[in-house]
């Protein structure tokens, strides 16, 4: 084990996979310079600007280029600097990357990793703060992962790069500088397996990305009120590990889902639907979602604070579930 920030763990994962496989190339705006947060810092020095390729600000075309390179034997990792800009690349991602294996009847696999940074921090406003994972999870052919800690970030990224299918790897900006233990050696985390991060008996909190930290803090706070909380991090939103969540809810009988994306049409709705299908008769209370209001992300720090779901709202929601028991 060694302690690393989330950002360093991603960088280490990229470095290891580029060393391991000469077909791995990194494309993106300013990636050879490290990018705005320094995730790719040093890669160009070690692997050259031929493999760590700065691109013009042409997200759609660079996405298509990466897909085309994948059809011709490379294993590209493309960085979209903010998930807000993935809108520009969705045509290529959704219509080509996601569908080519199916449409070609299995002739053409697309080993593509899309690294994209998301989320709220630093009052950046509506075009640099969104959480759009549910859009991507709606597309057959895409795998969508969303790590919450440095060890998972590294292990999932390495798995994504080795995967023969397109994987969207979503990095919440608020997590970049958080530290955690990362296993040494060739650390791989499978895509599609949730992690139970805190065991408990009375309520299940399913949380994504930065909401995992808030959920763990809420679990500690709720323990003081005598409520035993289980915290589950799905880690991948597609495929979604429904089995682990259902198993937990069958035990606890209560569930809160927390994510930073807006509530309407979010991944929480999918999780809720699956749980009612498979665990309705185990439920002692309605399922509640803790998510952002149905509004664009505001720029003012005062409004941003209001917008952002977190520990306080998770605790309030859990307490509501126990109000009548």
């Amino acid at each position: 084990m060694s302690e690393q920030t989330f950002l360093e763990a991603i960088r280490a994962g990229l470095h290891e996979e580029m060393s391991r496989d000469s077909a791995v190339y990194v494309f993106g705006e300013d990636v050879a310079l490290g990018g705005p947060f320094g995730v790719t810092k040093g890669l160009a020095e070690d692997f050259g600007t031929q493999r760590v390729v700065n691109t013009p600000i042409s997200e759609g075309t660079v996405m298509g280029l990466a897909i085309g390179a994948a059809t011709a034997g490379l294993r590209p990792v493309i960085e979209i600097m903010f998930i807000d800009f993935i809108t520009l690349a969705l045509d290529q991602l959704v219509n080509h990357a996601a569908k080519l294996y199916y449409m070609s009847g299995g002739q053409l696999a697309i080993p593509l990793t899309v690294r994209v940074q998301c989320g709220i921090s630093g009052a950046m406003g509506a075009h640099h703060s969104q959480s759009l994972e549910s859009w991507l999870a709606h597309v057959p052919g895409l795998q969508v992962v969303m790590p919450s800690n440095p060890a998972d970030a590294k292990g999932l990224l390495k798995t994504a790069i080795r995967d023969d299918n397109p994987v969207v790897f979503i990095e919440h900006r608020g997590l970049y500088w958080g530290r955690g233990d990362v296993p040494n050696g060739d650390h791989l985390v499978p895509i599609g397996q949730a992690a139970v991060l805190h065991a408990g008996e009375q309520v299940t909190i399913v949380a994504l990305a930065n909401m995992v930290g808030a959920a763990l803090a809420a679990a500690d706070e709720l323990a003081d009120s005598g409520i035993s909380v289980e915290v589950i991090d799905p880690r991948s939103v597609s495929p979604l590990d429904i089995g682990t969540i259902v198993e937990s809810v069958r035990k606890t009988g209560r569930m809160v889902v927390a994510h930073e994306a807006v509530e309407q049409g979010g991944v929480g709705a999918e999780i809720t639907a699956a749980v009612q299908q498979h665990a309705l008769y185990y439920l002692d209370a309605p399922i509640l979602r803790v998510a952002a209001p149905f509004a664009p992300v505001p720029a003012s720090p005062a409004l941003e604070k209001e917008f952002l779901p977190g520990q306080k709202r998770i605790v309030q929601s859990v307490k509501k579930l126990f109000a009548h028991s």
Binding site: P56, M63, L65, T71, L74, Y101, G105, G106
Partner: protein, 330 residues
């Protein structure tokens, strides 16, 4: 000039290939009229000289990308006639098991990487294949076919910029057939020749008569010298015309009949046949035989396709990814 160095057999083979595409598309059209083939079909009848002129000079391992009107490009690159027809007919024996249909053909064995239903969508993909080819140093080039309608799309311009910036071995082949769906090019842009855009990005370009096989081959030959030598991209604009509507069933009322008859006189197959005759490489009898062979070949393909099974129902959600995820069943 490509034409002068060629044996008469090579040139006759080009005519055969154009006839195969023409006969194929006419058969598809007939089967569509009989409702034996369904779907959204875009035929390139009248544009065969572009597909054959370009692909006839490519290596099997060169990467070719098409658009929504690409049956001819796949056939010109060497796609199997039976499997292509079966794919368009939605059968299990098709190239893609019936999952692609007319607009999304992949014929990897022929180096036809993919077509697309999104106008201009494969232009960036060709850049990526060219990038990989350059890195792997195996000498391949990437070729992408698209229409004049793609020339007003963002990815077209972004792609020209990046191909030029990185000097990628990609050949852009614009089939300027004068119409973007139902609207003439003049209503979509003030730029009369799309090759002008290539000039803006510093890409060598030419505008040729796309119904003249010899002219297309000559331009392609020059383009390949540049691309194979890794001296950057090339843009070829081929002026042509589709003799059918935008899609099968389109009455094409936006087009003057006089315009259609003018273009019929410039039919690329007739022109090339006349050229071969004038060079004493072909007789009327020989021409008849080529047409008959092509029609017989596509009849066989139609028989193969229509007697093939439909895809099995369990195929509906297979091959979504290479991993077979099992949904939670309780």
């Amino acid at each position: 000039m490509a034409g002068k160095q060629e044996s008469s057999k090579d040139l006759v083979d080009l005519l055969r290939r154009m006839w195969l595409i023409r006969a194929f598309e006419e058969k598809v059209s007939a089967l569509y009229a009989e409702r034996q083939i369904v779907g959204l079909l875009h035929l390139g009848i009248g544009q065969e000289a572009v597909a054959v002129g370009v692909c006839g000079l490519l290596r099997q391992d060169d990467f070719v990308f098409g658009g929504h009107r690409s049956h001819g490009h796949a056939l010109a690159k060497g796609a199997d006639v039976n499997r292509l027809m079966a794919e368009i007919a939605g059968r299990a024996t098709g190239y893609c098991g019936g999952k692609a249909g007319s607009m999304h053909i992949v014929a990897l064995d022929a180096g036809f990487i993919t077509a697309t239903g999104v106008v201009g969508g494969t232009i960036p993909l060709a850049l990526g294949a060219a990038f990989a080819a350059k890195e792997k140093e195996q000498g391949q080039v990437a070729v992408v076919f698209f229409g004049d309608g793609a020339g007003q799309a963002g990815p077209f311009h972004e792609s020209l910029n990046i191909a030029s910036l990185w000097q990628l071995p990609v050949i852009f082949v614009c089939e300027n057939n004068g119409y973007a769906e139902f609207t003439p090019l003049s209503a979509h842009t003030k730029v009369e020749r799309l090759a002008q855009h290539a000039k803006t990005y510093g890409i060598p370009s030419s505008t040729v008569d796309g119904n003249d096989l010899v002219a297309v081959r000559s331009a392609t030959s020059k383009a390949l010298e540049i691309a194979r030598a890794r001296k950057g991209p090339v843009f070829i604009e081929c002026l042509t015309h589709r003799l059918r509507g935008h899609y099968e069933g389109d009455p094409a009322k936006y087009r003057e009949l006089s315009q259609l008859s003018e273009w019929k006189k410039k039919d690329p197959i007739g022109r090339f046949a006349r050229l071969l005759k004038s060079k004493k490489m072909m007789t009327d009898k020989g021409l008849q035989a080529i047409e008959s062979e092509a029609r017989a070949r596509v009849e066989e393909a139609a028989g193969f396709s229509l007697s093939s099974s439909w895809p099995a129902s369990e195929e509906v959600a297979t091959q979504v990814t290479t991993i077979n995820f099992q949904p939670f069943s309780g």
